[in-house]
């Protein structure tokens, strides 16, 4: 129980600091710290992220930092993307995409570092 609370505190802090869901923190900690099976960890993390991101969005909104129009512009197409991705999952060469995705993240990361 206390480990779950610790994970929540960490994930909330991390998620709000970076504007992400916090799954990067939650999933490994559930797997390594609480022996969750990978799929259960990912699924549970998603549910936790729903709460954590909502808390983050509300807090930032109260501080006047949220741009709802911009959020809708990426957020709504993304829902379509998730549904398409789920439908295509069997047909997409995920293994091959992994390197490409990693390269993309690295390139964007490097761009932000400059």
């Amino acid at each position: 129980m206390s480990r779950l609370v610790g994970i929540g505190l960490l994930a909330g802090f991390f998620g709000a600091l970076f504007g992400v869901g916090g799954g990067i923190v939650i999933v490994p900690l559930l797997v390594l710290g609480l022996s969750f099976e990978q799929r259960r960890a990912s699924a549970t993390s998603l549910a936790a992220i729903l709460l954590a991101s909502a808390a983050g969005a509300v807090t930032y909104a109260l501080h006047g930092e949220v741009k709802p129009g911009a959020a809708a512009f990426v957020g709504i197409p993304a829902v379509a993307g998730v549904l398409v991705g789920a439908a295509l999952q069997q047909r997409i060469p995920v293994q091959r995409l992994t390197i490409g995705f990693a390269v993309l993240l690295t390139a964007v990361g490097a761009r932000l570092l400059v």
Partner: protein, 122 residues
């Protein structure tokens, strides 16, 4: 970047997020900064809002498969609220350039984590 292109990148972000199990946020933030010219802080704040529909759909689906540990998720989620307050304070205190660079490091770290995970075959 045209608005249409931003929407397409949003779609791609959802696709990749669904496939690789990373939240959309990791892609939303740079899209908002580089594509729509938001400040790093505004992009991060808006990203948290943008994540909600995707997280909802994902959670809904996983619930139906029976994969979600509701109690654990509730504890983590509620505990996160306190963490969120701390995160917001720090993010607002940091200079834009520092926050942006930290995010760049996060992206590279995520890339490494993804490759490492795929090597392990999970």
């Amino acid at each position: 970047m045209t608005l249409a292109l931003v929407a397409i990148v949003g779609l791609a972000a959802g696709l990749l997020a669904g496939l690789f199990g990373v939240g959309g946020g990791i892609l939303f933030v740079p899209t908002l900064v580089l594509g729509l010219g938001l400040t790093q802080l505004h992009a991060e704040a808006s990203s948290l809002l943008a994540i909600l529909p995707t997280a909802f759909v994902g959670t809904w689906r996983q619930r139906r498969y029976g994969n979600v540990d509701l109690r654990a998720a509730a504890v983590v989620g509620i505990a996160s609220i306190l963490g969120v307050e701390g995160g917001v304070v720090v993010a607002e205190a940091l200079p834009e350039s520092v926050l942006r660079r930290l995010f760049g490091v996060l992206l590279i770290g995520t890339a490494v984590q993804i490759v490492w995970r795929s090597r392990r075959g999970s």
